[in-house]
Subunit: 903 residues, 2 copies
Amino acid sequence: MARKKYVYFFGGGKAEGNAKMRNLLGGKGAGLAEMTNLGIPVPPGFTISTEACNEFYKNQKRYPEGMWDEVEENLSRLESLMGAKLGDPDNPLLVSVRSGARASMPGMMDTILNLGLNDQTVQGLIKRTGNERFAYDSYRRFITMFSSVVLDIDRSEFEKLLEEKKKEVGVKLDTELTAEDLKDLVKKYKALVKKKTGKDFPQDPKEQLRMAIGAVFNSWHNKRAIEYRRIYGIPEEWGTAANVQAMVFGNMGENSGTGVAFTRDPSTGEKVFYGDYLPNAQGEDVVAGIRTPQKITTLKDSHPEIYRQLEEVYQKLESHYRDMQDIEFTVQDGKLYMLQTRTGKRTALAAVKIAVDMVQEGLISKEEAIMRVEPDQLDQLLHPIFDPKAKVKPIAKGLPASPGAAVGKVVFSADRAKEWADKGEKVILVRPETSPEDIVGMYAAQGILTSRGGVTSHAAVVGRGMGKCCVVGCGAITIDEEAGQFTVDGIVVKEGDYISLNGNTGEVILGQVPLIQASLTGEFKTFMDWVDEIRTLGVRANADTPEDARIARNFGAEGIGLARTEHMFFGEDRIPWVRKMIMAEDDKTRKKSLEKLLPMQREDFIGIFKAMDGLPVTIRLLDPPLHEFLPNRDEILVKLTELRMELKRRLKADRKKQIQAQVEELEKTLKAIDNLREFNPMLGHRGCRLGISFPAISEMQVRAIFEAAVEVKKQGIKVFPEVMIPLTGTVEEMRITREDTVRVAEEVMREAGVRVDYLVGTMIEVPRAALIADKIAQYAEFFSFGTNDLTQMTFGYSRDDVGKFLPYYLEKKILKADPFATIDQEGVGELVKMATQKGRSARPNLKLGVCGEHGGDPASVEFFYQVGLNYVSCSPYRIPVARLAAAQARLKAEKEIAVSTSV
Amino acid sequence: MARKKYVYFFGGGKAEGNAKMRNLLGGKGAGLAEMTNLGIPVPPGFTISTEACNEFYKNQKRYPEGMWDEVEENLSRLESLMGAKLGDPDNPLLVSVRSGARASMPGMMDTILNLGLNDQTVQGLIKRTGNERFAYDSYRRFITMFSSVVLDIDRSEFEKLLEEKKKEVGVKLDTELTAEDLKDLVKKYKALVKKKTGKDFPQDPKEQLRMAIGAVFNSWHNKRAIEYRRIYGIPEEWGTAANVQAMVFGNMGENSGTGVAFTRDPSTGEKVFYGDYLPNAQGEDVVAGIRTPQKITTLKDSHPEIYRQLEEVYQKLESHYRDMQDIEFTVQDGKLYMLQTRTGKRTALAAVKIAVDMVQEGLISKEEAIMRVEPDQLDQLLHPIFDPKAKVKPIAKGLPASPGAAVGKVVFSADRAKEWADKGEKVILVRPETSPEDIVGMYAAQGILTSRGGVTSHAAVVGRGMGKCCVVGCGAITIDEEAGQFTVDGIVVKEGDYISLNGNTGEVILGQVPLIQASLTGEFKTFMDWVDEIRTLGVRANADTPEDARIARNFGAEGIGLARTEHMFFGEDRIPWVRKMIMAEDDKTRKKSLEKLLPMQREDFIGIFKAMDGLPVTIRLLDPPLHEFLPNRDEILVKLTELRMELKRRLKADRKKQIQAQVEELEKTLKAIDNLREFNPMLGHRGCRLGISFPAISEMQVRAIFEAAVEVKKQGIKVFPEVMIPLTGTVEEMRITREDTVRVAEEVMREAGVRVDYLVGTMIEVPRAALIADKIAQYAEFFSFGTNDLTQMTFGYSRDDVGKFLPYYLEKKILKADPFATIDQEGVGELVKMATQKGRSARPNLKLGVCGEHGGDPASVEFFYQVGLNYVSCSPYRIPVARLAAAQARLKAEKEIAVSTSV
């Protein structure tokens, strides 16, 4: 049996891997191989595959058999290509060891540079470069990285020694330290290692390499990486590759440097060079955001030759990958070397603009453009922005790293951000800089503000990835974390004070700036027009008010798929009548309350019909159990107990009488509540079960719908009501409610002398309804899958209680996804399919839609397209998301285009 | 188009109908036709079909077109056959008009005798018979019946006049009234009709006939009939036929009479003539139970010729129908006329004995015998009987009309019986005689005692039909309904006092006689042995205690299909530890409580394993949500509120401290309850979800099971534990819990050095589990359908709340049956089928059972047999029912034998 291949070489203009091998080589390894094959200057090296990493974990953290032999073979090849040898005291080869997973996980895993240095080879490096300062700078960096990553010594211990040294010699910047200073520092570093580990810093370069590769593999399971994977849903079983690559040095002087850049602006999508460049530095200095770097565009003037090389590489990469690239490079003594390329993460704004621009540049097709934008991401574009009419006076301005608007209370730590957000507060996380440890707090915050770092700093990259408004490098503010405040121009902003951030301009504003609705204009509009050209699945909105209906229409809703009439019952002017109606002891009293409610409901429907002029509106009859409308039982019980205690005391006669009356009233209410109370209200007396046992309620609602319809029709509005019966489980329920609905509708229209077209259909949300859908379809003109309830009943999960075990289930992977967020295709989806087939078999022109939360979830939308529904319905803000998901679903189904969005 | 035929003639040795036309002609009509064809003497006549009745209702109570013409044609035919004419003043034909539905509904609908009499024809009758007394007796009977049935005049008004007349002339019995007395009574009756209706009593016989037929049809919808159909599940759409038949007269003197009889004893099944005979009387006198009739066997001596005729007819009928018959007959002047034959209702005891006897007589096959007993009926044989060791001293003895034992509190009205039974009291209904109005009260009572009437009286017939212990004709007791007591030999028994009835002996005993378990002996054992020869579907028991297990085994259980471990948690010695375990704030405290529970659970299992030596025992791990084990929340809230009020007063320091401590304790408990409380516990944190999130609980249970198993095995007991995982919904749940179970089981067996064979399987009770059953079967060695929960989730009905609408749904026929009693084949059954197919596709030897309530329901058992399950499991008392249902299911499936049980 041929031995498994674990190591893939690249260099000398040819690579064993290529871009398609991302799963095996990781994003970085595949990118290096592809660039090598393209003839782009890449320092040679080799990639140890993700398979090796997975074997390593299966194998109690031992390298799989044969791997190390392959590493040694490839190392020899690298040595002969470079004409240098690892550990050669005269001509030492130095290498970097970097992790690289299938998906980008910025800053999550570990990197070691300058590996191969020891007390001998540092001398060789001096000899070869004639640059003692550079050699010792490299050595001290190597000891720091290796010790923190491999030997688990806290990085800050080394940083403390560095700061002490700077103080001692009286300089501010690392670059100001001399060779002598650095040489002394190396000595101190080694002593620290000896003290911490009881052993000398490892001097054997092969041993260094062996340990470093293991550390990279181990970093796949560090806490940060696990947390990151959880948030972004990256499977543990992917593993990481390790890349061993000949070092090139950005810290060889002023004609050297290192950069991190994007081929276009990842924040706005504009076609401009975008990124950071740090002269005389090594890569990690940029990402860590410690020194504020210069903008990459400044290279055009300062180093035109480097800029020219970059420009050439940019063009090659974009025309090859046909997408915006995120690159890392090092300039060694005026020559550009590429260290990484990958499809760049971008904001939704940028994703849309880049996609549209690239179509117009002829780089990609419209269909590809549509596949380029992650539907969920669009959400960012739909949320409110600052009201342009609001007069704002910024207190500071930083770099706009991720667009959007954010308003919230200032907090100074990730923990506090999480804690306050969990309580429902909106917060802005303010930090000098962010690090991977802050990820949970960043996720919880509305926006992020840092005082240091550039647009490719950790805060910026992660902020954009999350679609979170982010302003970085705002040097004007001085953060005093201990005092819980920041100051700017004498203004003191304390923890808990409101600020607003403008991620498009970088402005920081004191207080809460008013927000307005986003709108679909410019490239976004062009993009959504293309989406609609492709899309065949309809998109409707779940909207209960005229206001929601208008927002939905603005976002492209083609109708209302779910108007919940019960929400209308909670209005302050209504709830007393609703309660009277419920607690009525006879039909006459009940009717009287319903008569009061009728004109109010009619007005609701008039408003919605007007907002949706020309489009269908699906109105669901009353669904929740009646006890939901009654007052809180605990409060009544406590009050009652208190009054009863009171009665036991000696009281004046009229006071006693008064209390007794109150007690009686409360007892009556309590009794009414207890009469209606249910053990499992979700499975109780609700939906059409209510409509059937209290036909007067449905009758009032149907009357209100049709009175509204005929009235707006008289005013010239085009109205298409679709009356939807909730919770149907038997064919008789459907037959009876249908008949009742038609009777009242026809009555109203006859009275008014106006006819409107209408449909009567049902929710499919009880498993039994799906099982007998063919029979129900005899009486239903449309089905709308209520996938929320269908999920509850198919799983036997109460949505309100599932928090007791669902998080644990997700963590333990008993469930791959929250079935209330993404439809469970295997179980619930099977019922949807079944009902679709059965329903259409009985009524070929049956209209089919979905109105659960899943209607706005891209993965679910794709499934609903595949199943063959006519439309999905979702909340107004998810409409563009659903439109895009629907278009992508069609493209995927028809052409199976490889998905290459920016994730 | 040929006109529909509505009327079917019988007479002159030939009939247009036959026994197979029961649906069209009703039971009575079909029986009359069949007997006519058999050459048995039957007065000729014709039957108006049930179709006519249904048309009549569809048609706003008008006769369907052509029906009346057919009636007139058939009447002419009858007139010429009889040589008499309806309304002929010289030679009048008299007829009876009787209802007759497909199923027997004793006493529920109306009958009119002697129709055709008027002031002229009564003279003709006198002329023809020379018997003036008979003629006027017939006339006054006719007026009474016609007036009450057709003209809606209260029957008691006529009875009052009759009583007055008897008082006036100083006689006790109707038969003592003279022709003159009766003639005067007829005058008074006619005056009463005139007074009540404003019109004369109708004198036109054709008009009488037309009205009478309508009244019979109308009686299908009287209150009694509707109530009866509801109880016995008879569909409204069956309708009733009307039989018009030439009168024969049992009231023509001492050589005439009327009888109601069974070809065998319907109470015990013994092959003896059984029934009542009233000399010189018309039919309704027997059924009404007004005069206590003589036993039919006495005819042998008093009227040997009549007895001989009867004997001949009995033999003809039994060998023709091959089943016990229930007959009505009239003897006119020494000649026997049959008025009805039908398969006789019988007690379970009789059903079994008759079936076994008929096999032994060579009348029917074993298979037919098995089909002859209604499984549900067996229930009667399984309930406790009087302990033979108990010394009882009867206070009275009546006729044993329906066997069994009953103990309860005396009530004197049907209303009171219902009212008390609804409160959970066991009652004995004591009445002078019963009438159809009493049906609901009879249903609610444990047993029935009447002071009047024979073994074919209303109480006796209905009691046997319901399988209720019934003692009739207990003349020794004097009932004073107003005083609420009965007396016997100076003993006064008041409402609410306990009495016991022995339905096998007719004994009435004061107080509560101790009861013991029934057992399967004699013919019952023979019968059940035949059942088991045929049966292929296994029958197991749901039993949670060794005691239940023993009962189940006694009744033929082949294993335990469901032992619920949670019931064991509620024991007084356990609940404190269970609560401590639940409220534990850390694993250590939880473990400690579980250690206390372990030996108790082990003892439970040891007991069950011993009782089921040699048979498999399926043990379900903890299923209900933990809050079910916590104290009542309302009580705590009220107590807490009271204490808090108390604290507001001025109190001594130590009292205050004391109360504060109590408040804190209660707050802690309330918090614990609220932490666990769920909105929809049925869909909450229960079943395997508990076992997965608190693995220590399952571990304790599995350990207890296997420690018990190895211990009993050491004692020589054969033990086959089957560990059942509740509420599985995903394949991962099954995989994880299976692994945990196997781990602990192997550990225990290794420790003990003893191996036992065991299985690990799951309930299928969540719809999703049915949908992915193939995947679950990879890790499950058996499935047990939990059809209770499966029904809840498939319908979206909470079993605890369904009372809010289910009765209405059943009444309105939105549901045909309570889906918690009889499996819903269309919906829930579809999932069972699906899971069976999918499960077996993945694991061909998968063992499949059902352990919901449906396991003891005959219709459901038939379905489970058809689907191909291996066994059903039901409560111990339903085991023989399930065994019989399983055998019948096989016979039905294999031979499609026409069902001819005694219903």
